[in-house]
């Protein structure tokens, strides 16, 4: 019995680990935009970065059930670390990203202990508080961060010593897209691993998870640290590709926006953040070009209608349709999996 359950889980995981046609198509389209939409590379770069940021929020919110209104803390720290490094002569982009990831991971590790207890509301407010304190610190330490004027004088070296950032944003977009893709693949590996499975069982029922011997707190700390590192990379990308960092990387609206992006795209599903980023940014761009003053009204209206129409239902339906189209979705769910598994990757 024991061994057959383990067996089912293993095959289930490995089946889920396989790439579907829809997924491959998604990344092919993303790669194609590098060639077909030269005018849009700047906003696509932003979309890729926000997508990665939302993906990182999804790791904790969607897979581990930790809500956060302060995810910008890690994003902002990453941005400042990458920016300050570049300003002080370490201009290699990849090195900057690594350091940004490490710095954010450390912050994530330290603050993770604050979010282990309490209700959703408590977690929201504690994370928010951390981000606000960090924002105020960045404002006060203007000798290091440039304060409210922003961090100027960042100049990046070429990526791998080969590709210089250009004014069309093509290299920047390619860079952000590749980094996002690599981290996505890694995240995908993680969520279909036993580790990812244990996270989901913690999310669904922490008490039962503890009872079957999952080290709940250790797992949560680990995923929170990982998500922080991801957010740090996203922030680092923003700093490097825009070559400017200002206090608003830590602002509340950054955390709120990424939450919106993720929720629009779908929580607990790695593509959610990416799709949400595309939808949100394109909408914002189109609407604000049309009415620079009042575009927020229409975004608000869309959000309200989205919720009323049933966000879950809509995204589920779309996903179902896509999966059926590619013939991958078959009613073969194994009972050893958490019941929400149909929309997990």
């Amino acid at each position: 019995m024991q061994s057959t359950t383990a067996e089912t889980v293993r095959t289930g995981l490995s089946r889920r680990g396989r790439w579907g046609l829809g997924e491959i198509a998604f990344w092919l389209v993303a790669a194609a935009t590098l060639f077909f939409l030269p005018e849009r590379h700047l906003i696509l770069n932003e979309i890729a970065i926000i997508g990665l940021f939302a993906l990182s929020l999804d790791l904790i919110l969607g897979y581990a059930g930790i809500v956060s209104l302060g995810h910008a803390a890690f994003f902002g720290l990453g941005a400042y670390v990458a920016g300050i490094l570049a300003k002080n002569g370490i201009t290699d982009p990849l090195a900057g990203l690594v350091v940004a990831a490490i710095a954010s991971a450390i912050l994530g590790f330290v603050t993770s202990f604050l979010v282990l207890r309490g209700s959703d509301l408590t977690k929201l407010m504690v994370t928010l508080g951390v981000a606000l304190v960090l924002g105020e610190l960045a404002n006060q330490m203007s000798w290091l961060t440039g304060g409210a004027d922003g961090l100027q004088g960042i100049s990046m070296g070429p990526i791998l010593g080969l590709f210089e950032f250009d004014i069309f944003g093509t290299v920047a977009y390619a860079y952000s897209l590749v980094v996002t893709f690599v981290l996505f693949v890694l995240a995908r590996r993680i969520v279909v691993s036993p580790f990812g499975l244990s996270l989901r069982s913690i999310r669904d029922n922490p008490l039962r998870a503890r009872a079957v011997g999952i080290p709940v707190n250790r797992r949560l700390v680990a995923v929170y640290t990982l998500a922080a590192a991801y957010a740090g990379v996203a922030g680092g990308l923003l700093a490097q590709t825009t070559q400017f960092v200002s206090l608003d990387v830590l602002a509340f609206h950054r955390s709120a926006d990424v939450m919106l992006v993720l929720v629009i795209g779908g929580v607990g599903y790695l593509y959610g953040g990416l799709i949400g980023a595309v939808v949100f940014k394109v909408l914002q761009d189109v609407l604000s070009a049309w009415t620079p003053q009042y575009w927020q009204f229409w975004i608000g209206l869309i959000l309200v209608l989205l919720v009323l129409a049933g966000r879950e239902r809509l995204t589920d339906k779309a996903r179902f349709a896509v999966k059926r189209f590619f013939g991958r979705f078959k009613a073969q769910r194994t009972d050893a999996m958490p019941t929400t598994s149909a929309r997990e990757i």
Binding site: L114, G118, M125, E136, Q293, G300, L303, V304
Partner: protein, 284 residues
């Protein structure tokens, strides 16, 4: 020293007036209504428009600043909010943030993006000296209004039939319905009152905090801090919480100005780490 204490209390009371409506909707009805600030803004604008365009005296505008947002709240509750009680918190966040965006842009469109000012009556301006303490009249007024509100809310919630029905409806709507309690009427009333209180807070706060279309976003954080620090299960919790935050904030900024910006956030984090349910909540 005592003046600082007084200012802190007045500031805390102001926070409470603004946040108590949220304490009702979030704390009692368990609905994450981030659009709370939009109702407060509506109340503020009612007062500002009535005073500046029609010359209505300040005190007379206050009942309307309560009534108009309450009616808006009622209408929205009946049409939209009621569909979302059973939904996840994330849905509620998304929905109410959408409402905030719409409110911000709509007010901007109709009223313009600049600050709105109101002129409080002369008898509320200035200061008097009581027992050697300089006391601002308007701040005393806010404290008085707030005191009345706390007593009234506490009375309604704990001593009246409505209060017990509300608590029953919140704890278990199905059973409450089975007992013949009209849950949807109770929720609608409560929501309307919560929105009205927000409006009243907005009208009272406009003088000190200012009023412009970004009001709901600017002060959202403060409302949430008060409610979470105080705890969401009672009305006294947020009340004591806002007093604590007000006094700590004012005193912190007076005595250690260089760290002034950190006081309120740090206090919140410390409180929530030590008591995740809020300072004054009974453990459930």
């Amino acid at each position: 020293m005592l003046t600082i204490l007084f200012d802190g209390i007045a500031y805390g009371m102001l926070l409470f007036v603004l946040a108590c409506g949220l304490a009702v909707t979030l704390g009692l009805m368990n609905f994450v209504n981030l659009a709370h600030g939009a109702f407060a803004m509506a109340g503020g604008y009612v007062t500002a428009v009535l005073m500046n365009r029609f010359g209505v005296p300040f005190l007379l505008t206050l009942p309307l600043a309560f009534a108009v947002p309450a009616i808006i709240g009622l209408v929205l509750e009946r049409t939209l909010y009621k569909q979302l009680y059973a939904r996840s918190h994330l849905d509620q966040v998304l929905f109410s943030i959408g409402l905030v965006f719409m409110a911000v842009a709509a007010v901007d469109y109709t009223m313009g993006s600049q600050q709105q000012m109101i002129q409080i009556p002369t008898w509320l301006q200035g200061r008097v000296e009581i027992l050697g303490i300089q006391v601002g009249l308007y701040r005393s007024f806010i404290i008085a209004v707030c005191g009345v509100l706390v007593v009234a809310l506490q009375f309604v919630l704990t001593r009246t039939r409505f209060g017990s029905r509300l608590r029953a409806a919140v704890d278990d709507p199905r059973v409450a319905r089975g007992l013949g309690i009209n849950v949807s009427v109770i929720f609608a009333t409560t929501f309307a009152v919560g929105s009205g209180l927000a409006g009243l807070g907005g009208a009272l706060g406009a003088e000190i905090l200012g009023l412009d279309p970004t009001f709901p976003l600017k002060f959202m954080i403060y409302f949430l801090i008060v409610v979470t620090v105080g705890g969401t299960t009672s009305i006294t919790g947020p009340f004591l919480g806002s007093l604590l935050l007000g006094i700590a904030d004012v005193a912190g900024k007076y005595y250690v100005p260089s760290l002034g910006a950190f006081v309120i956030y740090t206090l919140m984090i410390v409180v929530l780490v030590l008591r995740p349910q809020g300072l004054f909540a009974r453990a459930r």
